[in-house]
Symmetry: C2
Subunit: 472 residues, 2 copies
C-alpha cells in the first residue's frame, strides 16, 4: 500500500489538500493505474485527520474520475487511458471555448446570434414576477401540451405574423425542435423522409438517429423539386419554404402549391415546415407560411424561440394538423411537457406584453444594418462573385464566378484570419460520391459587430480579388 | 352576409365587446358553421371602429377556434362538432381541476407530492442571482450533456447518497425521464424490454410508444424474478430495486446479484435502474443503488428532481455505462440539452450550497411524520388487513385478508368520500386476461396534511371493518 505523507498548510481546508496531493501523484504517475489506496479510515488515522475529511477528498477524486471506488474492495487509481482521454477532451473543450475566438480575426459563423441586445433586464423582471408567492402552482405539474396561455399567445402570434391557421389545442410546446421531432416520430412511425440538400444538418441527424430513411431530394432555384419528391417515394418532406437553410431560397407560391398537391395526393403524406428564421426579412412583405396555404391539413408547422430570443431558451412549438392531432391525443398525450412552467410563464408574459414583437422588430433593424454593412463591404467583389440568400435570415452566400473551389475560398480567407464556411458542409447523403463542388461559401453575420463585419468583409474583398483564376 | 349590430358599452375595450358578441352568436347557433363573416375592413366601416379593432377581435376568435381564416377568402364560422368537441374538453379539464378536490373528502393519490414546504424564497433568490448581469453567457447555448458544474454536482451527490460510481462525463441531463428514455431508445435500438408488473405505467407507455416490445415479467417478494427474466428473451430490463413502484418491494442483494449476472451473461444486455424515490426511506440505512454493485458496466441509472424538488422542475439525469457512453458520443451527442441553462444554474447552486440535501432531509422528516400518522390511524385494521411498501417512498399498500376485491375496497372508501387506488391499475400487458385481482389498494400521502390523513384513514378504518367478508 502506498504511503501518503502530505505536508499540510493552514491556508486551505484539509480535504482539499489531500485531494490535490493525490491528484498530482496520479497525474505525475507516481501513483499508477490500478493501485489500491488506503481506506478512508486508515488514511485518516495515518494523517491524524477525521474520517469525514478523507472521505470528502476521495469522493471528489472519484467524482473527477481519478479514483475508482469498487464496492467492498476500496479505492483504486483509475486507468490512465480513460483519464487522459477525459483530460484531452476537457482540454479540447477549453480550447474550443477560448481558443477559436482568438485564432480568427473575424469568424462569419452562420450559427451565431446577437445576444448583446437581449432584454436581460426585462427578462429578469418577468422572471421575478413569475416566481412571486402568488404563483406557487407553477411548481406543480402543468398541461402536457404546454400551458394554455402560452399556446394561446403562440397561436395569436403565428396567425398575425405568419398567417398560420390553428387553434391552441393543435400546438405542442417542447424543449427544442429536436425533442418535438422525436415526438413527431412516434406519431409518424418509421418513414421515408425527403430533405433538401444542402439542408439543416441537425434535423437530418435527428431523423437518421430515429431510424428514418432520409432521401436527399434535388433543389432548383425554387427549392425542393416536386417531381423529384414524387419520384423519391417519400411519405414525408421536410422543407424550409420561407428561407431555406443554407441556400436562402424563398419558395415561390407555385412550388408551394405543387408540394401541397403532392401531400394531398396520397393518404399519410405530410410536409414538415420548419419556419426557423422567418422572423428576419429585410425587404418586401413577409412571406406567409406554407401552412397558411394548406387547406387539406397536410402541414406540420415547426417554430422556435431559440433563434429569435436566445439559444438557452429551449422552447419550440409544433402545430399538428387534425389527423395527427387525433393520433397524438390517442397515443402520445401522456408525455408531460418538457419545458418548466416558470419558463413558460415568463415567455407567455414576454409575448402577451408585446415584448416579443418589439424584440423581433428591434432585432430585425439590427440584423438589417449588419446585413447592409456586409453587402456594402463585399461590393468590390460584385464582378467576380455572386451573392445569394440576402435580404432575409442571418447569413448570405458568396459564389465565385471564376471557378474557385470552396476549399480555395476557405483557405484564402483563412490566410487573412477570416473564417468562412463551405456550402457543401450542409450536404446530406452524398458520402459515397463526395461533396458537390459549388464554389460557394456561407457568411453569417448575426453575432458580429458592424466594425468586425466591415473589417472581415474588407479582408475578404482584398484576398478574393487577388486570387488567381480557379481550376474549375 | 350576416348583419352584426353590437350594442357597445364603455366598460370594456371595443375589440373585446366585438369578440364576445360574435362568440355568443356562434355558441347560441345564431351564427352557423360555415357562415362567412364580413371582412375586417367592412365590419370596421359598419361599426364605425378602426380596422385594427375588428382584426384583434377576429384574431382572438380564430385563436380560440370559433372562426376559421381561409387565405384569400375570409373568415368563416368553424364547424360546430370541432367546436363542441373542443369545449367539452375544456369543460372536462376545468372539472378535473376544480371538481375532483371537492368530490373527495380525502384523496390518497399516489401521484401527489408536498409542495407546501418547497423553499420558494430560496429558489427565487438563486434564480435572481443566476440572472444577474455577470451571467449573460447563460443565454447562449451550453454543453449538450448539460452544464459541467451540474453534472459534477449530481455525480458528487449520487456517490455520497446512492453509492453510484461514475464520472461527470457519463451523466446526461435532460428535461424529464421520458425524454431521457427517448434518447436511450436511440442508443439501444428496438428491443425486447422486460418490466415488472405492476409497474410505473408512464415508463411502460414510453417504451410502447417508441416501438419496443415490452414483456411483463413475474415478480415475487424480492422483485423481478431472474429465471423469468432469462426466459423472457428480453435484452433490457427496467427495474426499480430501491423501492419498486407500486409494490414498494426493496430488492435484496441476492436478487440484485442475480439480475447483474443475467445482464453480464450476454453482450448487449442492460438493466435500467429507475431510482425514482430512493431519497425517502424512514427506517434503517438507505439501500445503495443497484449501480453501486455493478462491476461490468451493465446498469443505466436514471434519477429525477421532479419528485424530490418539484414536478415543474423538469430535470432528470441518466448515467450511461462506458459501452453506451461511447455509442452516445459517436451517434447522439449532437442533441442539444433540453434544459434551460438558467434552470441548470439554479439547480447547481441549490445542490452545491447544500440546500438540496437539507431539503431532502426536511422532506424526509415531513413525509415520515405523515407516513407514521397514516400507519397509526390504520392500526384498527391490522387484524383484517396487511400493510406493505411502508417505511419508504410516499405511499403504502393495503391488502384485505378477508377476500375483498379491489373494487369492493374502492367502492367502500368512495362511499365515505375517500379515494384509494387499485393496485391492478398499474398492471401491464394483461389486457387479454383481465386485471389480476390482488385485493390491494394504494394510499399515497405526500400531498395530504396530517389531519387529512388521520381523517381519511379513520374513515377507511371504520368502513373497511364494517365490510361483510369478501367473495374471494
Amino acid at each position: 500500500m502506498y504511503e501518503l505523507t502530505i505536508p499540510f498548510s493552514e491556508k486551505e481546508p484539509l480535504y482539499e489538500q489531500i485531494y490535490k496531493y493525490i491528484k498530482v501523484q496520479i497525474r505525475t504517475k507516481r501513483l499508477l493505474a490500478g493501485t489500491r489506496l488506503p481506506s478512508t479510515r486508515k488514511l485518516a488515522e495515518h494523517l491524524g485527520v477525521s474520517r469525514s475529511t478523507t472521505q470528502l477528498a476521495y469522493d471528489q477524486l472519484v467524482a473527477e474520475g481519478y479514483l475508482e471506488a469498487r464496492p467492498c474492495r476500496g479505492y483504486f487509481v483509475a486507468k490512465l487511458d480513460t483519464l487522459f482521454h477525459l483530460e484531452q477532451k476537457m482540454e479540447q473543450a477549453e480550447e474550443k471555448k477560448s481558443g477559436e475566438k482568438q485564432r480568427w480575426l473575424v469568424d462569419f459563423s452562420p450559427r451565431g446570434i446577437d445576444l448583446e441586445r437581449f432584454p436581460y433586464g426585462l427578462w429578469r423582471r418577468l422572471s421575478r414576477n413569475s416566481l412571486s408567492d402568488d404563483n406557487r402552482e407553477l411548481f406543480s405539474a402543468g398541461e402536457n401540451k404546454g400551458d394554455g396561455a402560452l399556446r394561446q399567445a403562440i397561436c395569436t402570434y403565428l396567425y398575425g405574423a405568419r398567417g398560420v391557421n390553428c387553434r391552441p389545442d393543435q400546438i405542442l410546446v417542447g424543449a427544442g425542435n429536436e425533442y418535438l421531432l422525436m415526438l413527431l416520430h412516434q406519431l409518424l412511425g418509421n418513414q421515408r423522409i425527403a430533405m433538401e440538400t444542402p439542408t439543416y444538418r441537425q434535423a437530418y441527424r435527428v431523423f437518421e438517429c430515429l431510424g428514418h430513411q432520409v432521401i436527399p431530394v434535388e433543389m432548383d432555384g425554387s427549392g425542393m423539386r416536386a417531381d423529384a419528391l414524387e419520384a423519391s417515394g417519400a411519405k414525408i418532406a421536410y422543407v424550409m419554404p420561407s428561407h431555406q437553410f443554407p441556400t436562402g431560397i424563398v419558395m415561390p407560391i407555385k412550388r408551394r402549391m405543387e408540394l401541397l398537391a403532392w401531400a394531398s395526393g396520397q393518404e399519410g403524406r405530410y410536409l414538415i415546415e420548419d419556419d426557423y428564421d422567418s422572423e428576419f426579412r429585410y425587404k418586401g412583405k413577409p412571406v406567409p407560411s406554407l401552412q397558411s396555404a394548406d387547406t387539406k391539413g397536410r402541414v406540420i408547422y415547426l417554430g422556435t424561440f431559440s433563434r429569435a430570443v436566445a439559444p438557452a431558451i429551449r422552447v419550440s412549438y409544433m402545430m399538428l394538423p387534425e389527423s395527427l392531432l387525433a393520433l397524438y391525443e390517442s397515443s402520445c398525450s401522456f408525455y408531460a411537457s418538457t419545458v418548466s412552467r416558470i419558463d413558460q410563464r415568463i415567455l407567455t408574459e414576454f409575448m402577451k406584453g408585446g415584448h416579443y414583437e418589439r424584440h423581433l422588430n428591434k432585432m430585425r433593424g439590427i440584423y438589417k444594418a449588419k446585413h447592409d454593412a456586409l453587402l456594402a463591404a463585399l461590393f468590390p467583389l460584385s464582378e467576380s462573385f455572386t451573392v445569394s440568400g440576402e435580404y432575409a435570415g442571418i447569413h448570405i452566400l458568396l459564389k465565385s464566378r471564376r471557378g474557385h473551389t470552396e476549399e480555395e475560398l476557405i483557405q484564402a480567407a483563412g490566410s487573412v484570419g477570416v473564417r468562412v464556411y463551405g456550402l457543401s458542409e450542409f450536404d446530406i447523403g452524398k458520402q459515397e460520391q463526395g461533396k458537390e463542388e459549388t464554389g460557394t461559401v456561407l457568411l453569417g453575420y448575426a453575432s458580429l459587430g458592424k466594425e468586425e463585419i466591415e473589417r472581415g468583409a474588407g479582408l475578404l474583398a482584398r484576398i478574393f480579388s487577388e486570387l488567381p483564376k480557379g481550376k474549375q
